[in-house]
Every structure is written in structure tokens, then in C-alpha cells.
């Protein structure tokens, strides 16, 4: 009997030790993720930091004997919600970084101070609210044969009304999102002929827009095309890359080389003579 009790105590101590390790690994990481979310300039980086926080919280849930909630956390938050955030960020655009202009003067510092006040109040109010060691959920879970079964008994028993209301909420949320995202067409959709017509009524060049530069050393989309006078055609680079400032102009030596060849000071490779070009043409035809 005493052997069994000692083994149980040992097991409890082991699980407590594991819980301590998990907490001290995951808690700093989750706080780091939250801080990274607040200080990241770009919204995409914030989203990735939030994902870090969510995953660490899921691990903490599992450590707190809530494996079902841990899995739901991974599936719902990191799986669905963060993907939704990333999709919306993709639509809104990568250049939607925050402005650092304060609309209300001193609002930022006031906000930080007041939030820290709320945090201190929270910690003071509930920091020591749990007296004594944690009871643990072993007994409750074992009564129904597992955490999922025990939660199911609660959800379809005591909380069945809330559960049904939740289903109504989910359906209305889906409908609301569909209505909000739906765009009514007020004018008939223009045909290809009308689009072409309107394009030719516009001022400016009628042809296709300039493509990004394709040179011997650079053929990526971030290399702007060169105009006849050697200046850079900024319009040839896609808008998002312009917004990021990720332009890679063709390098100066290459430009100088081209200019020198053009002015007759240097020769690139073997000169093309009319005879040789005629020969090659003839071979091509044969």
C-alpha cells in the first residue's frame, strides 16, 4: 500500500517537474511572441508572432491537462484564424505598414502607462488567487474515461443550450461575412471591346506597359527597364515591389560598358560584318 502511494507521489512529482519545464520554456516564448506582435512594423510579421504565441499557449493547455483545448487551439487559431488574417493581409497589401504619426498627442505613452496600470491591477487582484497546490483534473477526467469524454458530458449536458446558441452564432457569422464581402454590381460588366475602347481614349502610351529590364546580368522583376536616354523606367516594376523599395537598378559598370560601345570607344565581342551575318542567314535557311 505504501509502495503504491509512494509511486503515485513520485509520478505526481515527475509530472509537476515536467510541467515546470514546459511552463518556463513556453511562457517566455509566448510573451516574446506577444511583444513581437506589438512592435513589428509590418502586419505580416505581427501575424507570424501571434502564431508563435498561439502555439505556445496550446502547449501550455496540454500541460494544464486540457489536451482537447490544446488541439482546438492549434486547429482553430494557428490553422484557421491566422490563415484568415494572412489572406486578408494579402488582399489589403504588403505595404500596409503602420504609420508612426500620433493622431492624438501623447496618446502612445498614455496608452502604455494605463495598460501597465491595468496589468499591475490584474496581477495584484488575481496573482495570488489560487491558494494551495493545484487539485488537478485526473479525478474528473477519469470519471468519464478521458478529457474529451468529460468535456463532452459537460457540453452536451449542462451547457447544451449555450452549445446550440453557438451554432446559431456560427451560422450568422458566416452569413454576415458573406453579405459584407459581397459586392453588388451597379453597372453592367464591361465587355472586352469596351475595355479596349476606354484604354485607347486614355492619355499616354497606348501599347503595353514596359516590362522589367532583361539584361545579361539581371533579369528579375525588380530590375527596372531603361529608357532610351539611360534613365530608369520606374513603372516597369510591379507596384508592391515599388512600395517595398525593393528595386535593383542595373549596375553602373554595365551601363558604362553599353555607353562606351554605343559611342564607338569599345567593342563588346567580335564585330558583326554584313558578310558573316549573310552567311549565317544562308546557313539558317539551309
Amino acid at each position: 500500500m505504501s509502495v503504491v502511494a509512494a509511486a503515485a507521489a513520485q509520478a505526481a512529482q515527475d509530472s509537476s517537474w515536467a510541467q515546470t519545464v514546459i511552463f518556463w520554456v513556453c511562457a517566455p516564448l509566448s510573451v516574446l511572441g506577444a511583444l513581437g506582435m506589438v512592435v513589428s512594423r509590418k502586419a505580416v510579421h505581427s501575424a507570424l508572432w501571434v502564431a508563435v504565441t498561439m502555439i505556445n499557449l496550446a502547449i501550455l493547455y496540454v500541460a494544464l491537462q486540457a489536451p482537447f483545448l490544446g488541439m482546438v487551439q492549434v486547429i482553430v487559431y494557428t490553422g484557421a484564424v491566422m490563415m484568415l488574417f494572412l489572406f486578408v493581409l494579402m488582399i489589403v497589401g504588403v505595404d500596409s505598414s503602420d504609420s508612426l504619426v500620433e493622431t492624438i498627442k501623447g496618446q502612445r505613452w498614455l496608452a502604455i502607462v494605463l495598460s501597465l496600470g491595468v496589468g499591475v491591477a490584474l496581477i495584484a487582484a488575481e496573482g495570488n488567487s489560487i491558494v494551495g497546490p493545484a487539485v488537478g483534473l485526473d479525478a474528473v477526467n477519469a470519471a468519464d474515461g478521458g478529457n474529451v469524454q468529460a468535456l463532452a458530458r459537460l457540453m452536451f449536458g449542462r451547457y447544451v443550450l449555450a452549445f446550440e446558441v453557438t451554432s446559431a452564432l456560427l451560422i450568422s457569422a458566416a452569413l454576415g461575412a458573406m453579405i459584407l464581402a459581397h459586392r453588388e454590381l451597379h453597372t453592367p460588366r464591361s465587355t472586352q471591346a469596351e475595355l479596349s475602347d476606354s484604354r485607347f481614349r486614355l492619355e499616354g502610351p497606348k501599347g503595353p506597359r514596359l516590362v522589367p529590364g532583361v539584361y545579361a546580368r539581371h533579369n528579375a522583376v525588380d530590375t527596372p527597364a531603361l529608357l532610351p536616354d539611360g534613365s530608369i523606367a520606374i513603372d516597369s516594376v510591379p507596384g508592391p515591389m515599388q512600395a517595398r523599395g525593393a528595386l535593383r537598378p542595373v549596375d553602373e559598370p554595365a551601363l558604362d560598358e553599353v555607353v562606351e560601345v554605343f559611342e564607338g570607344h569599345a567593342v563588346l565581342t567580335a564585330p558583326v560584318t554584313p558578310e558573316s551575318s549573310g552567311d549565317s542567314d544562308g546557313e539558317g535557311e539551309n
Binding site: Q19, V31, T53, S96, A162, L170, A177
Partner: protein, 99 residues
């Protein structure tokens, strides 16, 4: 392991989330901060459930997750609609009712 540590972590996360909501101007990032605040509350629920040996906290946390998911769906749809008309996701641009 002191069960109060989890509650402290939840308070810290909640504070960081509220700082983010008040400081950031991008509507999407503010929304993420709200998510972190909801998660902090969930952590408090789960840790209280563990400390008291009572599963009700986990059930409530589950319902919070469901509500948060539907809230994200509608909220992001609203942000998309505003972006479509104003071409901006910044909350400072949404000032039509101000003047």
C-alpha cells in the same frame, strides 16, 4: 509548480494585448491584439480549471474560442469592406463620422 504562475502569464499577455490595441493604428494588427487578449483570458480559465479540479473552465474556454472564431470572420469582413471603400486599413482614416 505554483498554479498562480499561469494566471500571472495570462495577466501579462492581456496587458501586452491591450497595449497593442491602444498603440497600433493598423486595424488588422489591432485585431490580432484582441485575439491575444482573448487567448490570455482563455489561459486564465484553463489554469483555474486545473487548479480547482473542475472542468467548467475548459468548457467556457471552448465557447470563448468559438465566439472568437466567428468574431474574426465578421471583423475581417468589415475591415475588407472598409478597405474597399477607403483603400486603407488604418483606423485613423475611418473618420467620416467625425466631421
Amino acid at each position: 509548480m505554483d498554479p498562480n504562475a499561469y494566471v500571472l502569464l495570462s495577466a501579462i499577455l492581456f496587458t501586452i494585448g491591450s497595449v497593442g490595441v491602444l498603440v497600433r493604428r493598423n486595424a488588422i494588427v489591432m485585431f490580432m491584439c484582441v485575439e491575444v487578449m482573448l487567448n490570455a483570458a482563455n489561459l486564465a480559465f484553463v489554469s483555474f480549471a486545473h487548479a480547482n479540479g473542475n472542468l467548467d473552465g475548459q468548457a467556457i474556454a471552448f465557447f470563448v474560442m468559438v465566439v472568437a472564431a466567428s468574431e474574426v470572420v465578421v471583423g475581417l469582413a468589415i475591415i475588407m469592406t472598409i478597405f474597399r471603400t477607403r483603400r486603407s486599413a488604418s483606423v485613423d482614416e475611418e473618420n467620416l463620422l467625425k466631421y
